[in-house]
Amino acid sequence: MATPTLEKAGTAAQDASPYITVTFRIRRFNPEVSAEATWQDFEVEIDPKERVLDGLHKIKWDLDGTLTFRRSCAHGICGSDAMRINGRNRLACKTLIKDINPAKPITVEPIKGLTVLKDLVVDMEPFFQAYRDVMPFLITKGNEPTRERLQSAEDRERFDDTTKCILCAACTSSCPVFWNDGQYFGPAAIVNAHRFIFDSRDEAGEQRLEILNDKDGVWRCRTTFNCTDACPRGIEVTKAIQEVKRALITRRF
């Protein structure tokens, strides 16, 4: 930009380029070529203040157009680009290069526990199946009110944390129980059940609790806190699961 301060500092500032060379080590899988997934390294000139997603864009647009990954909004809201970056589930669009040690190769893998379709794209259907199973929509009885369904601020606060979920699957695919037995509902489905179970306007909490009381429901949670660590929205996922367990216990006794 042509701001005076920059022009004065001119030469020195422009000589010191912000760009550094970062190695992206990406897990590639193409079922049309091989049944095996392989690691491939890409070296990218990138500003460390940019995000991992920018690096992936540079690779796809300039180096190798066959690199396949999901991303939609690219600003941490749509939940499309959850991937395993340096061994942890994160959103590529919310992870800055400078925060994950660009001196070493940055490993990028698809999230675990779901079928890889190509490169970083996984089949999300089992994840959404579990989500649909907990009926993530308002259920009420009786006549519809003529006005909106009012709720006190305290009642709203009760489930505020779990409304933040963007369904990116970072939590569910970080759960060791889900990795080994995909029949487990997974943290994301329980979080979205929690959002309605503790909503004072909803009247099907009992049904949702009954669904999560199943042998593949909340009781399979081992409280390893992987989900809480992985959540890019900072939802206290394990706490939500424990609250569902407590609701089940207090309902019985």
Binding site: P31, E32, V33, S34, Q40, L63, P126, N213, R252
Partner: protein
């Protein structure tokens, strides 16, 4: 710019656009083999039992260890006469009986969840659990039998 870290697999000709590599079946896909939802409170009671029995076991087991290994001369005092003396009292009989049942069921339920979490194939899971249940039932019944039929005058 790009360099392969792992050499490309040699069976490139094996798969192509019309004949892609087989995908691993998705874990939660609904198939005919998918078990029906259970509608029982078994897992709830199992989970609750682990918490409650755990609390009781802390007292029972630590007390047991203290009496057997620390107090009154330590482990060297433990012998047939010592055991016979303790089991003469219904209080210690009850203590040992409750400890046996709780510890065995607590451990068995814990191992059941470990097997459920770690066994990958249904068959492995089934047989490991059968082995576990057999061992548990055997130990619990044998221990109970000994506590109730213990004869201090045995030769």
């Amino acid at each position: 710019m790009s360099a392969e870290t792992t050499p490309a697999v040699s069976d490139v000709s094996l798969y192509d656009v019309d004949n892609p590599a087989p995908l691993i079946e998705a874990p939660r896909k609904r198939t005919k083999k998918t078990p029906k939802s259970t509608r029982t409170n078994f897992e709830l009671y199992g989970w609750l039992f682990m918490r409650l029995s755990g609390i009781v076991l802390v007292v029972l087991v630590l007390g047991h260890l203290l009496i057997q290994l620390v107090l009154d001369g330590g482990v060297s005092k433990v012998g047939f006469a010592f055991v016979a003396g303790r089991w003469a009292s219904p209080f210690w009989q009850a203590w040992d009986l409750i400890m046996l049942w709780l510890a065995m069921l607590h451990g068995a339920n814990g191992l059941r969840t470990v097997i459920n979490d770690y066994a990958e194939r249904d068959n492995t899971r089934f047989w490991l659990k059968m082995l576990l249940y057999t061992a548990t039932v055997f130990t619990v019944l044998l221990g109970t039998l000994v506590i109730f039929t213990f004869d201090p005058n045995i030769r």
